[in-house]
């Protein structure tokens, strides 16, 4: 795009333009002044963009104080001397040395104090230890074929699917609830004023009190389906998406993302033990069964690429599901322990 076709947002993201506004030098000044006189109709938008760039500044205007500046410099230089005592000529008149030895004394005092405190804590100290609880991280995981329900101390309920893992602090800290998920889980988050954050890979799902399903797809993919409430999803590139009930956010492995609607039963039926096939291809159906029952499926013969299957099973055995599928699609099956063989006659 040429500069003459630029709108305000293009100027606001153009490095060369920003450099001219922030650090005008001979080259960029020469160019932009000439350009504006060539395109007088752009003068206004250029001025607007420049004014926005100039007016944006950080909220914090506390600069570094002189005291901090000087003190830090001294500490940095002194740290060097501690390492290299050889360069140090003992000289009574050098004020730095006396400061140094005062520091040594101070260090000894501090060390003594620490020993006293830790002695105090170890001998009498059970009480103190209980007052400052160490946050323990609890980690739960399910192998394929197993599902579980986890209730957190503040009332949140988590349905954890097979081949999934969740980690959370035994006691949440003040002001924040954070859990870490791998795989798939359905959350019924209890409202208690604190935000609840599910971190999945590089993404964070931020909620107050809602019900939603999270599923990791492959390496970087993710699907978040919202049943009720409001959910905010942030990815590592700083994108933020808000979800409304009945909306699903799909993030592909490439980082591309889009919103769609979803079939409630298909997405969250698993937590109520519904195994759902919704116009699934053979590959999809195969991986659902493998995951659901924790089995491995071997295929003999070639299954048509147009094969699709729809069906719903509640708390059915593997045998019944396989029978159901084979009835409608003319496949044969046999079960040998953890292994299923499907044959296309």
């Amino acid at each position: 795009m040429k500069f003459k076709d630029y709108d305000i947002e293009h100027f606001l993201t153009d490095e060369f333009f920003i450099q001219w506004v922030k650090n005008p030098n001979e080259n960029n000044q020469h160019f932009w002044e000439k350009w504006i006189s060539e395109h007088p109709e752009k003068r206004r938008v250029v001025q607007q963009a420049a004014s926005i760039i100039r007016s944006i500044q950080s909220d914090q205007n506390t600069g570094i104080s002189d005291a901090l500046y000087v003190d830090m410099f001294e500490n940095i230089i002194k740290a060097e001397e501690k390492k290299e005592p050889v360069k140090f000529k003992p000289d009574e008149s050098n004020p730095w040395i006396s400061i140094f030895s005062i520091r040594k004394i101070a260090a000894a005092v501090v060390l003594g104090f620490c020993i006293w405190i830790s002695y105090d804590v170890m001998i009498k100290g059970v009480k103190i230890q209980t007052e400052i609880p160490q946050t323990l991280i609890v980690s739960r995981s399910n192998p394929a074929g197993k599902k579980s329900i986890i209730s957190l101390s503040e009332g949140t309920k988590i349905h954890l699917n097979g081949e999934s893992k969740i980690a959370y602090p035994e006691v949440f800290e003040k002001g924040l609830r954070t859990v870490e998920l791998e795989g798939e889980a359905y959350f019924e988050v209890a409202k208690d004023g604190r935000p609840f954050i599910v971190s999945v890979g590089d993404n964070a799902i931020n909620v107050l009190g809602t019900s939603f399903n999270v599923r990791q797809n492959g390496a970087g993919g993710l699907a978040v389906a919202l049943v009720e409430g409001k959910v905010k999803v942030n990815d590592r590139l700083g994108n933020q998406v808000l979800l409304n009930p009945n909306e699903m956010l799909v993030i592909e492995e490439t980082g591309k993302f889009y919103k769609s609607d979803f079939d409630l039963m298909e997405i969250i039926g698993w937590k109520d033990m519904y195994l759902i096939f919704n116009s699934d291809s053979f590959e999809e159906a195969k991986s659902k069964i493998e995951n659901w029952y924790g089995v491995e499926i071997e295929v003999k013969g070639k299954i048509s690429e147009t094969w699709v299957y729809s069906g719903q099973y509640k708390e059915e055995s593997l045998e019944n599901v396989l029978r159901g599928i084979s009835l409608t699609s003319g496949l044969k099956y046999s079960i040998k322990g953890r292994k299923v063989i499907i044959t296309k006659p």
């Binding site: 947002e9 606001l12 100039r54 007016s55 914090q60 205007n61 830090m72 940095i76 800290e173 700083g238």
Partner: protein, 208 residues
């Protein structure tokens, strides 16, 4: 530089040294300054300290309000760099390099303090809040304050990371390449995308 000469001897010694160092290194490239520092040139260190500690501090204060924590992190970072002199790798932009390692150091320290393994490299939600200054003489409208207020409100609805990128781009005048380094993106493209999306959201927010 805001540091006025102070009464104590030490600070006048420092500022004298520092003004000398500025004269020597002003015209040199970052790489030359960095190599001189690597070779043990104290003037180069003084110059780096003088030029970049104010920026580092104001960067840090936007991540955490804990001044002592920022001080400790900056101090350790410089002590560490000084110890590694002689084997430092090349640095093209000293500013973005120092901000990058300061941010790492801060995250590590904050994580340690909260003794909590889950929150790691995320900026706090209130990091890098933006103020819209009123010195803009260009828009000479009555509604100028109104526009600024709306702009400020919209800016602060962006994610902390987007605001961070905008502050680095507009306040520090950094290039996308430098921003990518600070934010630890492998590709410059990602920094551009982050800014494009921020401006796009801003546009949407201002429309409503």
């Amino acid at each position: 530089m805001v540091n006025k000469p102070q009464k104590t001897e030490l600070s006048s010694v420092i500022s004298l040294r520092h003004s000398e160092s500025t004269k020597i290194f002003e015209k040199k490239s970052d790489l030359e300054v960095w190599n001189a520092f690597d070779k043990g040139d104290e003037m180069a260190f003084n110059y780096i300290y003088r030029c970049f500690t104010p920026i580092m501090f104001s960067f840090g204060i936007q991540i955490t309000k804990d001044v002592d924590l920022i001080k400790d992190c900056m101090q350790n970072l410089f002590i560490d760099l000084r110890r590694k002199r002689g084997s430092l790798s090349d640095v093209i932009s000293i500013k973005s390099y120092l901000l990058k390692i300061l941010q790492r150091e801060l995250f590590r320290a904050i994580k340690k303090e909260s003794s909590h393994s889950i929150q790691n490299t995320e900026l706090p939600e209130n990091a890098f809040l933006i103020e819209v200054s009123h010195e803009t003489k260009v828009i000479q409208l009555e509604s100028e304050t109104e526009i600024n207020t709306q702009l400020k409100k919209a800016l602060n609805q962006l994610t902390a990371r987007q605001r961070q990128a905008l502050v680095l781009l507009y306040e520090e005048g950094m290039s996308y390449k430098e921003i990518a380094e600070v934010l630890e993106f492998k590709e410059v493209k990602s920094a551009r995308k982050l800014v494009y999306r921020a401006i796009e959201s801003l546009k949407q927010l201002l429309k409503n």
